[in-house]
């Protein structure tokens, strides 16, 4: 219904959004999350044609936004912001009445039908008794509902919400989000909203789009998005993720320690250890490792793996991957992978490979399709040795040649030449995390 195709947006000369593609289906609730200043609101503004895109296109119902007039757009979608200008002496009814403006010529007055739609919008948001009340007399949550009512009076198909809960207390936040969810269900409204609260995003969205540094970092279902690893990478905080009734529940624990790198990853030492001689074969002359893998859901999962030496061993920091697996409790693959024997792990490798190939191409998976094949082609069938079994498995890696690492029954593509490599160079970022004993 609404698609962003390789959209780039600039403010003056500064590039804010680069190459963002996003596909929103009718009736979906999509939340856009990400740290401050990454361009989340900018995307909403571009969708509503408040700002122009520098490159790419935004398609709404097979029509390009750029070719639609502001007025046409305002009949199809509407936006509610975190804070809105509420004139001190405007009543709720008056405000909602303005929602009919897109349907009026500049000299036209409100018709009976308009009045009915206004009433309907007030009823939908439970504000009918507040019709003659001044906006300024409303609580934050009621005011936000009033603005949503105005948006409804526009009879839109898409509701754009820019941090609709930011200035509200907890109860009002939920009240507004419940209202949004209900409108989504009952009126089949498509909702795209920018949220800051990860739990809200996880609870109320069909899909979550993570924007990081102006790019789509991930776009998938909440349970795929909300992982310790991703939260660590994007926000630079340590978090725990529980699953309650199939929905992720996120507990933010603290800000990640590592300085600059903390924004990019969640580093926890001692998740995987490599024998020093193997490690030296692996990373001869390099300082850190970039690893990519495929999640059980088939989406690519990128991890950075710095390392430290300790007691004759070299430790890779792979906690994000481990955490990711631990969190997908429902996934049978994880159980098997926790099995403390080598043949089981081998089987997993084979099974995952078959499963993955069977899935065909997933969006964003380009380049990962043949990672298993590539692995075997380079190294032959891998050998595994279990190091320990805690919440997840650790493998000592035995590698004949090259730069591939295997763990958790998955293939990790170690790409020393990748452009990400420099970003996480341990020395450059002064990683001072001390390894704990394995």
């Amino acid at each position: 219904m609404l698609a962003l195709q390789k959209v780039s947006i600039n403010y003056s000369d500064r590039n804010i959004i680069k190459n963002v593609s996003l596909d929103v289906k009718a009736g979906e609730v999509v939340s856009i999350i990400g740290p401050n200043g990454t361009g989340k609101s900018t995307i909403l503004k571009a969708i509503s044609k408040r700002i122009a895109v520098a490159d790419g296109s935004i398609i709404f119902n097979e029509q390009e936004i750029a070719n639609m007039s502001v007025k046409e757009i305002s009949k199809q979608m509407c936006m509610v912001s975190q804070a809105n200008n509420s004139p001190h002496d405007m009543t709720v009814g008056e405000l909602v009445g303005y929602g009919r403006l897109p349907y009026k010529k500049w000299y036209e007055r409100m018709s009976k039908e308009d009045e009915e739609i206004v009433l309907w919008a007030l009823q939908q948001t439970g504000l009918e008794p507040y019709r003659d009340r001044l906006l300024q007399r409303l609580s934050g949550g009621e005011a936000q509902r009033a603005w949503i009512a105005m948006a409804l009076a526009q009879k839109p198909k898409v509701l754009l919400l820019d941090e609709p809960t930011t200035y509200l207390d907890i109860a009002h936040q939920l009240e507004v989000l419940d209202l949004i969810k209900r409108l989504n269900k009952e009126l089949e409204l498509t909702v795209i909203m920018v949220l800051h609260d990860l739990n809200h995003a996880a609870q109320y969205s069909d899909k979550i789009c993570v924007i990081h540094r102006g790019e789509v970092h991930a776009y998938a279902k909440p349970e795929e998005i909300m992982t310790t690893a991703l939260i660590g990478r994007v926000y630079g905080v340590e978090a725990e993720v529980q699953h309650v009734d199939g929905k992720p529940r996120i507990h933010i624990i603290k800000k990640s320690k590592a300085k600059d790198v903390s924004r990019m990853m969640n580093i926890k030492p001692m998740d995987i250890a490599v024998l020093k001689e193997n490690y030296q074969k692996l990373v001869a002359g390099t300082k850190s490792v970039f690893i990519s893998t495929i999640t059980p859901e088939g989406s690519p999962f990128l991890s950075y793996a710095p390392f430290v030496e300790h007691d004759g061993k070299v430790y890779l920091y792979l906690s994000q991957i481990a955490e990711h697996y631990r969190n997908i409790e429902a996934n049978p693959a994880v159980d098997v992978m926790l099995a403390a024997d080598e043949s089981a792990t081998k089987n997993i490798f084979a099974r995952e490979r078959a499963r993955f190939q069977g899935q065909g191409k997933n969006v964003g998976n380009e380049g990962y399709e043949d990672v298993f094949a590539k692995f075997e082609e380079k190294f032959g069938t891998p050998t595994f040795k279990m190091l320990r079994t805690l919440d997840f498995s650790l493998f000592e890696l035995t590698l004949a040649k090259g730069r591939y690492v295997v763990g958790f029954g998955q293939a990790f593509d170690v790409d020393f030449a990748g452009e990400h490599f420099e970003h996480i160079n341990r020395d450059a970022h002064g990683l001072d995390v001390k390894p704990s004993k394995p």
Binding site: S48, R50, S74, N84, M90, L101
Partner: protein
């Protein structure tokens, strides 16, 4: 602000309307020959004697009508500009129209006094050129007309024209007294033909302004919301500014620079009746007309030896009021 229902607000409007009519009748009567309101009414209805007919129709009524029209124009213009740039300190002068008109008119008065019959036309041209400069400078391709940029380029253009006015005054200081009346907005010596020149433009302007009230109102909700409601903000800003410039330009061209009506009256209206332009714009029109009428009345009757231009009276009433607004935190 008047709290309460629509009826209360309508009552207030009706009351001000009545007051305005009363003030008009009194203003027509007061002067070197005073005519009492009943005779005034008789004369207006065509039953007066010859002397009072001549005095009223040839001298007083044109002057009073002009005060009413110009006052209304400037009040609307100020209201529009305050709405467009979302700044309570805006007045018609923000668009550069006053200083542009002043430069053009002064140039004719001081440098080419022979062509003084063209002053109204030249003043309009000067005002429009200055406004075009302001909006041309304010325009940005990426963001369109941003209120802050309109205000800033207005300030800059006003400064430039202010400099030119200073220069002209210095170069032709011997002829300056002739220009002082105009520079301070004087309604003296106007005839019915002058009224008839600006009346049609003004009435058209009023009608358009009244029909645009909803568009003006939407601006109160902020730029983002107005955009979401399908308003092409650049177009709305430009058209409303254009209306403000036209109304101010025809007024300034006729009576010179009248300060403060455009700044103060919209505030008065808002304080009396609230920020909804459905009420405050009509009230602004009435109040603008009334205040300029009264300012002119005071100016021409208080010191009967000299006629004090309405602009001076207005500024001396408007200035303190403006300071009061600032102290009160209303501005």
């Amino acid at each position: 602000m008047l709290k309460g229902s629509k009826t209360n607000k309508s009552l207030l409007l009706a009351a001000v309307c009545l007051l305005l009519i009363l003030a008009t009748l009194i203003a027509i009567g007061i002067g070197s020959v005073s005519v009492n309101p009943i005779v005034t009414l008789q004369t207006l209805l065509g039953y007066g004697d010859d002397t009072s007919s001549v005095i009223l129709w040839d001298i007083r009524i044109p002057r009073v009508l002009l005060a009413l029209i110009v006052g209304a124009n400037l009040a609307i213009s100020g209201t529009l500009m305050q709405a467009v740039v979302q700044n309570p300190l805006a007045d018609p002068g923000v668009t550069g129209v006053s200083s542009g008109a002043a430069v053009a008119a002064l140039f004719i008065m001081l440098a080419l006094p022979g062509a003084s019959s063209y002053i109204p036309l030249v003043a309009i041209a000067g005002g429009v050129v200055a406004a075009a400069m302001v909006y041309g400078m304010a325009w940005q391709r990426s963001t369109g007309f941003q209120p802050v940029r309109i205000v800033l380029s207005g300030v800059a253009v006003n400064a430039i024209f202010g400099g030119v006015i200073g220069l002209l005054s210095l170069l032709y200081s011997d002829r300056l007294p002739a220009a002082i009346q105009w520079m301070n907005g004087s309604l003296a010596g106007k005839e019915m033909s002058d009224v008839l020149v600006i009346l049609p433009y003004s009435v058209v302007g009023w009608i358009i302004a009244l029909l645009s009230i909803r568009q003006i109102n939407v601006l109160r909700l902020g730029e983002q919301t107005a955009h979401n409601l399908g308003q092409n903000m650049n177009r709305v800003r430009l058209l409303l500014s254009l209306l403000a410039v036209c109304l101010a330009a025809v007024s300034v061209s006729m009576v010179g620079l009248v300060g403060f009506v455009g700044l103060v009256v919209p505030h008065m209206a808002r304080m009396l009746i609230g920020s909804d332009y459905r009420h405050s714009l009509p009230l602004s029109i009435l109040l603008g007309a009334m205040i300029l009428l009264l300012a002119d009345l005071i100016g021409r009757s208080l010191f009967s030896a000299t006629q004090i231009p309405a602009g001076i009276v207005m500024a001396m009433i408007g200035g303190p009021y403006f300071l009061y607004l600032m102290r009160k935190g209303g501005a």
